[in-house]
Amino acid sequence: MELNSRIPSGPIERLWDETRFNMKLVNPANKRRHSLIVVGSGLAGASAAATLGELGYNVKCFCFQDSPRRAHSIAAQGGINAAKNYQNDGDSIYRLFYDTVKGGDFRAREANVYRLAQISVSIIDQCVAQGVPFAREYGGTLTNRSFGGAQVSRTFYARGQTGQQLLLGAYQALERQVQAGSVAMYPRTEMLDLIVIDGRARGIVTRNLVTGEIDTHLGDAVILGTGGYGNVFYLSTNAKGSNVTASWRAHKRGALFANPCFTQIHPTCIPVSGDYQSKLTLMSESLRNDGRIWVPKQKGDTRPPDRIPESERDYYLERRYPSFGNLVPRDVASRNAKYACDEGRGVGETGLGVYLDFADSIRRLGRKTIEERYGNLFDMYERITGEDPYAVPMRIYPAIHYTMGGLWVDYHLMSSIPGLFVIGEANFSDHGANRLGASALMQGLSDGYFIVPYTVGDYLASNKLEKISESQSEVGNAVALVEQMTQKLLAIDGKRTVDSFHRQLGKIVWDYCGMSRTAGGLRLAIEQIRELREEFWNNLRVPGSAADFNQSLEKAGRVADFFELAELMCVDALERNESCGGHFREEYQTAEGEAQRDDDNYSYVAAWEYRGYGSPEELVKELLEFQYVHPSQRSYK
């Protein structure tokens, strides 16, 4: 398969303008006749559905949650970047573009990232107008903070609930269109297959999660904003319901899946406390501004932290990275925590944790200042762990947080199946091998509010779409496939629960395709995944029936897809013989133990094509060219 990324040529700052000008427009009178399907109601999905509704299209929007407002975008804490330069500290569109390409370790498309930086400015305006209560200065202007090691203050925020407020803004815009009749909302409805007719995405098959009814919805284009696949690790900071099913089933229908091994680990999460653990809770990275990270120098030192004298503590980040210290980027901080624990120096009952100590800061700044800065986070930590972080050091451990990989899309955010658009975390486009803090919200809204509404219009206006009907064989086949799979899952009637398989799968992926990877480990993982998948299909027990509210059945379908994705992740990680961003292969590191990129051989997007169940997927490469930001080695020494 040939990939055409449809990136126009010309000076980068004019690309998006020219693309828009060259787009065909849909006659306003005809918009109503086009029905569009949006799957997912997070920042990307809700903003796209709302905007397309405003433009006059006939939109159907689907989410598996009970309300579109529950989408996991809601949990983003930190903020959203925009190149407004309100602080007059030297920020610009070009600088945001530069930082994002560099932060992504040179594995993102320059044209996409530049457009993202351009649009970032309008996103803030739009959200403010919707009534998002961003933090303000006393004078009434918007305030900013610097985030994730950026040297300019370009992050806009609403307390520690920026994601919530932006999502509610998009949700409200969506509900406005629901009331206006331009968007029909389908909550508790899960997409289980994509309907492809004559090579074009023309609809979806859904399951009503309350009644179990299988339905088909046909339209002129399908837009997926279904989020990332971090839950393949079982334990992640994602919501329990977050899943890859919509993306994966589209992949099986022909949409290429790009860079699945690019996953991001967040260094400051609350550690696992036991086998029953169902998810990991993230705490804002800002904690590293004032906390010092350490582990005991001695292996297996079980003394309580206050009994370990200063001389027997290893402040390993400060030791190894004297200039950045505790503020090294996410991947570096995470990896070093893993090494410390692998050496047997981890703390806490499970040995999977390192201390984040505020004692020095409290002594230096006073408890009150620390309380003002991190009060909420300290409260949350105490609520979950039962320990008072003012008195004893916090314990933290890295957790999977975001997935940069996703369905491959071109500059128009259209996948390799014409008519299937993919937006937000579900696509692979803008973050390369590593996402910078406060960029996820920016990308979701940029795709949903400002990109896909144009590109979908262009697609509709430039292609003659045949009339289709429910009676076509492609529709029937897709429904039959979904029903077969449902029946198959219910019929196994084995002994083990879905969660037990998912937990075991997650452990394999985390151990071998997590923070650091080796060729040997990945091969082993692929073997183990296949074995476990075999057992899954023979020994799974899903209680209940397909005809009612059945949470186990929902999970079973999702985990079945995670199995297939997990294997592809390992295959992708094995194929990429370099270390870059969130992908760290132990074989490829510098003498100092830092990631070593191989730009000569791996400066490409690895897009994978599905070749049928059990057959190896085929790699299609999209070569990356860097005309503006030239690849360089990151250094935080």
Binding site: Q126, A129, P133, T497
Partner: protein, 274 residues
């Protein structure tokens, strides 16, 4: 630790429900309430029984999916905490925990501890937004907003829509939820142009949904995981009275409440396969 869970089991809205007791002899004090249910469900499935249905998603207290009554208190005994972040160490050894779903006519039961809260979406849909289409916004700093207003708006906007306020209210009123949105948008200059009509429409929808009337009791704010203050209900009352007085065009629409989930699909599970 040992706990005894007494959980409301009900197969569907039309079925009869009852409490069923489940002993949990090896609960871990560090578990969250929901993880305790996870463990119970694993056991039920292995024993061939139907697991307890409960709503959950983010498990970090922000999505608003989870929530049920624990011993008569919405989200359980810990203030400002949803059940997903409520750890078992807050209960006593051997304690009996009675788990019951939110009960309100406007929250029809779906299964066990899961209820249908689409009435909340319809309240938002009826006017809980600023009518600004994508692209038409002025620069973010074009309209100044005092820090105090932004902070107050944020206090109200923190609502997660979990429904605990309705569940705890002796009247089953949705005043705190509706008031929070009316206050959030009414405080900000961006929301001012629609202030009157928003209050009129949202209140009309809230009433149409069959929630009870607010009698200023204050249980709602006591159980609210985000501690939304009672002040927002006063803001709603003020805007409603103001709007009723100033209204000219007399165009208040409400959305007809519906509780049906079935799409009337003609596609059956037994459809022939090719």
């Amino acid at each position: 630790m040992r706990l005894k869970l007494k959980i409301w089991r009900q197969q569907s809205r039309s079925a009869a429900g009852k409490f069923v007791s489940y002993p949990m002899d090896d609960a871990n004090p560090d578990m969250s309430m929901l993880e305790c249910l996870d463990v119970l469900n694993e056991r039920l499935i292995e024993a061939g029984e139907d697991p307890v249905a409960f709503e959950h998603d983010c498990r970090e207290g922000i999505c608003g999916s989870c929530g049920f009554m624990i011993n008569g208190v919405a989200h359980g005994p810990l203030p400002a905490t949803t059940v997903c972040q409520l750890t078992l160490r807050h209960f006593k050894e051997g304690q009996e925990l009675v788990l019951e779903p939110w009960r309100a006519r406007a929250f029809p039961l779906i299964k066990d501890l899961v209820v249908d809260r689409r009435s909340f979406d319809r309240i938002i849909s009826s006017g809980g937004y600023v009518s600004v289409s994508t692209g038409s916004a002025p620069d973010g700093n074009a309209i100044l907003v005092s820090k105090e207003s932004a902070d107050r708006a944020m206090d109200a906007a923190a609502c997660i829509g979990c429904g605990a306020c309705v569940a705890a209210c002796p009247n089953a009123s949705a005043a705190l939820f509706t008031g929070a949105k009316i206050a959030h948008l009414g405080i900000l200059p961006q929301g001012k142009p629609e202030r009157d009509v928003r209050a009129l429409r949202m209140v009309a929808q809230m009433n149409a949904e069959g929630f009870g009337g607010c009698t200023n009791i204050g249980e709602c704010t006591g159980v609210c995981p985000k501690e939304i203050p009672l002040e927002v209900i006063a803001a709603m009352n003020r805007d409603y009275i103001r709007g009723s007085w100033r209204e000219r065009d007399n165009l208040v629409t409400t959305i007809r409440p519906f509780t049906e989930w079935s799409t009337g699909s003609k596609l059956k599970v037994d459809r022939a396969t090719e």
